[in-house]
């Protein structure tokens, strides 16, 4: 069957099987930021934005995403022009092995897209589904809090595209 959706702002059509899982379809489409950790909804490494909501792509049927807008880390920033969250993760040492980072960045982006002044508790809640075995959680909270005030300028620079 055909699946039509928007991937990182561009319309795309893919040939999929009805039983395909979104995680596999995205990775096959080249979105290697989408990581497979537990493959059952517990770790958050596979998180992507589906119509603005961060969800675990390992437990979403690909066919369900017909006409949806999907954002992965590939759509957030580039090494030359990182998203404020990506820069803050680097600056604050919120990354070690890096495997959890794409999922955490997506969950953090969902938060900052609707709340530019989050409290520490709001950051903790927004990232409660993203396990990290390396950094010990503190640094990524600092990173998200540091990125928040930079979002306004980022939006202005990117012409409003989040």
């Amino acid at each position: 069957m055909e699946l039509n959706f928007s991937l990182n702002g561009k319309p795309i059509t893919l040939e999929i099987a009805p039983s395909d899982i979104l995680l596999d379809v995205l990775r096959k489409a080249g979105m290697k930021s989408v990581k497979r950790g537990c493959n059952e909804g517990f770790c958050g490494a596979c998180a992507v934005l589906i119509d603005g909501k961060p969800r675990n792509s390992c437990i979403v049927m690909a066919a369900h995403c017909e006409s949806s807008e999907i954002i992965t880390v590939e759509g957030m920033g580039t090494p030359d022009h990182p998203h404020p969250l990506q820069q803050a993760f680097v600056d604050h040492g919120a990354t070690q092995c890096g495997y959890c980072n794409p999922g955490s960045l997506i969950a953090a982006k969902a938060l900052l897209d609707r709340n530019s002044h989050p409290t520490t508790d709001e950051v903790k809640l927004a990232l409660d589904g993203n396990l990290c075995r390396c950094t010990g959680y503190v640094k990524r909270i600092e990173a998200v809090l540091a990125a928040a005030p930079k979002m306004k300028k980022h939006l202005a620079n990117t012409g409003g595209s989040k």
């Binding site: 009805p18 437990i59 979403v60 369900h64 409660d128």
Partner: protein
């Protein structure tokens, strides 16, 4: 994996969904948030019927109480400003205890109520509140009190192709209070036990008490013996 899945449907009306679900030659199953369905290993399912385009996402306050659409997500319930007071707080607290933010953005109220795993957090809250689901089957609606829905597994109560469309939660009597506690190893682990309580005072005495428990038995239950 749903190895033999051949079709994925997006019905535009409840009755269209109903007729796809009642087809005799093929086994078609509802998919809501998909958090349970996507993990199934089942070679007998031919089609999935996705309710995403049906108008089942709502949280309304009516004269009788609250009404929540079956496709409303746990996260929408958790963050809803329409739910307040003892009844609303209990519902929001239970929804906020489901898994993680990422899970709550997928899990739907209808899916959580119908699949009812021992760890499901919404059923005990709604049981303590004397709620009832509304369902549609063969172009007719019926109301099923939760006490009945959980007297056995809901799959034995719901008919083949029956769709839960909303849950209705009555207003609490004046002077009511509620509480919800989930005991689990970590914040986003499954419950070891859930306790949902609603009490109502009259003349400084407990006039009504409802205590619902889950995760300690196969199905959520109301604790009757505790009431003296």
């Amino acid at each position: 994996m749903l190895k033999n899945l051949a079709n994925y449907y997006f019905p535009r009306s409840l009755d269209d969904a109903g007729s796809i679900l009642s087809e005799k030659q093929t086994k078609n199953v509802i998919i809501a948030g998909g958090t349970a369905v996507s993990l199934l290993r089942d070679q007998t399912i031919d089609g999935l019927v996705d309710l995403k385009y049906l108008p089942l996402v709502f949280i309304k306050e009516t004269v009788a109480g609250y009404s929540i659409g079956a496709m409303t997500t746990a996260q929408e319930v958790f963050q809803s400003s329409a739910l307040s007071g003892p009844v609303g707080d209990l519902i929001r607290k239970a929804a906020g205890n489901i898994g993680s933010t990422l899970i709550r953005n997928s899990v739907t109220v209808g899916g959580n109520l119908v699949s009812v795993f021992p760890w499901s957090d919404l059923p005990p809250a709604f049981l303590a509140l004397d709620a009832a689901v509304v369902s549609r089957h063969e172009k007719r609606n019926r109301t099923i009190p939760l006490m009945k829905l959980y007297s056995t597994h809901p799959r034995n109560i719901l008919k083949h192709g029956e769709i839960v469309t909303e849950i209705k939660i009555p207003k609490a009597s004046p002077n009511s209070a509620t509480a919800f506690t989930k005991f689990s190893k970590t914040k986003n682990d499954y419950a070891i036990v859930d306790v949902a309580v609603r009490i109502c005072l009259k003349n400084k005495k407990v006039f009504e008490a409802a205590i619902a428990l889950s995760a300690i038995s196969k199905l959520p239950m109301r604790a009757r013996q505790l009431i003296a």
